[in-house]
């Protein structure tokens, strides 16, 4: 049975690297894998989504509404935006960070109140953590993506050694230590 994981956030938060690590870790676990990314226009601070699908044989590279087993949301508003993609029995892992979109910055729209409570009342399982704080603890806020991946690791059937080896392989050499630390701290919370 094919499993569906979505990584959603704001362009520039490192969702692409997260998808690449997750995809390669699943490949190392022996699965067929497809990872679909968004490049170009959406990377300029827009809403971004990466689809990761794995199983015995994967055909479509995308995930539709009501199909995601797990959603990794890098930002609260994006968690709400993509919530309709979560399966009834799915789990959403949320970084509690808030990033104002342009309509909120210019005062045309308001950032919705009590997003987390609303999501908790609707979704089957919600794991909310301050991944930015974990990244800071690891030494650099840029590692927020891998920190959240660490938080989500408990929901994924991937061996710890495989995570470590994949991070070493995929992340640029000078950032490997930072990302390993962020991942480990994420796993620990």
């Amino acid at each position: 049975m094919t499993k569906n994981i979505m990584i959603v956030g704001v362009g520039g938060q490192g969702t692409l690297l997260t998808g690449k690590i997750l995809g390669n870790a699943l490949l190392a676990m022996g699965y067929d894998v497809k990872v679909s990314e968004v490049h170009g226009m959406a990377q300029r601070g827009g809403a971004v989504v990466t689809y990761v699908r794995y199983g015995k044989e994967v055909f479509s590279p995308v995930i539709n509404e009501g199909e995601a087993d797990i959603i990794l949301a890098f930002e609260q508003l994006e968690a709400a935006r993509w919530l309709s993609y979560l399966k009834k029995d799915g789990c959403i892992v949320i970084n509690m960070q808030r990033i104002n979109p342009m309509p909120v910055i210019t005062g045309v729209a308001e950032y919705p109140q009590d997003l987390l409570d609303k999501i908790k009342s609707m979704a089957n399982e919600v794991i909310a953590e301050d991944a930015l704080a974990i990244a800071k603890q690891a030494g650099n806020i840029k590692a927020v993506n891998v920190s959240l991946l660490g938080v989500a690791a408990k929901k994924l059937d991937i061996d710890y050694d495989v995570w470590v080896e994949t991070i070493k392989k995929v992340v640029p050499a000078k950032f490997v230590d930072l990302n390993l630390k962020a991942f480990e701290l994420g796993c620990g919370v």
Partner: protein, 575 residues
Amino acid sequence: MKHLYLGNEAVARGLYEAGVTVVSSYPGTPSTEITEYAATYDEINAEWAPNEKVSMEVAIGAAIGGARAFSAMKHVGLNVAADPLFTVSYTGVNGGLVFAVADDPGMHSSQNEQDSRHYAIGAKIPMLEPCDSKECIEYTKLAYELSEGYDTPVLIRLTTRISHSRSLVELSERQDRPLKKYEKDFKKYVMMPSSARPKHEMVEERTEKLREYAENSGINKIIKGSGRIGIISAGNAYTYAREAMGDEASYLKLGMINPLPIELIKQFAATVDKIYVIEELDPIIEDHCKANGIDVIGKKIFPLTGEYSQSLVRERICGTKPESIDFGEDIPVRPPVMCCGCSHRGLFAAIKKLGVFVSGDIGCYTLAALPPLTTMDTCVCMGASVSALHGYNLARGKDASKKAVAVLGDSTFVHSGITGLINVMYNKTDSKVIVLDNHTTGMTGGQDNPMSGNTLKQGPAPKIDIEMMARSIGITNIVIVDPYDLTSTYETIKAELNKDGPSLIVARRPCMLAGRVKPNPALSIDKDACKKCGACLVIGCPAISKGKDKSMSIDQSLCVGCGVCAHTCKFGAIV
């Protein structure tokens, strides 16, 4: 050993394994990474051309010269290269010649949703369509065999979901190809009426031979399922269909979408009760089936617009939809924005204040059309800003031309703005052309171009001096502005608008992202001086926001200290 390759990365791998030595392209989402990955192989001479017509002609010349050659472009890029495409179909090749064209159903990053399969039909060129990264490698290599075997250029059609999805591949060794001998052959390579007439005959015969290949080679294959439903599909649409219907349906998966088989489709039709054709965009396979008397269901139930998905296929064929959570309230949109420190921001803030007609173009700066800047009147295609401004000014006269500008980036200017500027000078309008020179091709991820001072693989290159170039055309009003200096940019453009004759205004500042610019210290709001008027919000900087008490604040982690906002504040509250 298996690897997780992006579709574009896999096409580049196919080029490498096929022994390709020359690659020339112009960047365009979603095709850009093919050429970037090709450049990582020492054996491939990969370069960025000024536009797609040039890149395709470079590949044509290399193939005539005996090498295996390649060019990649996005769908609208193929419009630019259509002129050589239709005639190289007649000349055929010497070394293998392949072009990849990446369509963008759903328009993730494009100005239209055209279906490039029409080009293969129109130019009578075979077209292959892979459905994942593995097929991207296989089909790229096969394309060279077909090219040399049938004496034809070959098109590979990609879509965003193929180009930008990763899936598993296995790698093979490169097969080096000795350069083929070049022999002068007037009848083959010089296309003029006397030689082109027999060539057209040859093209028609070639299409019939290729149709036989489509019927019998196995590139189009039948996958038997349990039910009596048949599906004909190709590329990523096939993956949606297969995901949606599983083993319940039988499939005719087309790997070659021009020319299409006839007998194979009839043979498939005989084994099922009902046939659906699932293809994004235009009904090309469907029309082919119907023209050959095969009854199929296609656009009657599937849309002509946008991307498809497994849910869409299931819903339209089976009437079922997965249950989903309804969040129940509007969520503010998050459109893409210009980066903090983007050199375009100050320029558009100045233009907004001038209240002029803005003939726009393709690039990051098209984002200025969105709120809060909303400073763009038109955007049609690469280079159209300059030529369309000339037309606008011709129609509306001299007074209107003092309240109108064209805006385009450096890469777009080289791509197809130069000819427009020559037209402005030659046919005499007072058109004011602003080139946003940020030394890069920004929207596609920061590729080098003839104004950046660098190349893809060959190191530094001379920068085009566009001031000197404009002078050689005959333009005398030439000014340079620093878009970070909003006040002076505004005054300079205002002065140029009042002059007679055309003007070239160069707004020069490197791209914050691609230029590896070291940020200045972040600015902040002096709360005592701030009158909460909101003037600084007009420039749409993601680092500035308004708090609940209406006071402004600057996000210290985002601000790069460009200082454009400080020019908008009458009270000196941004320091």
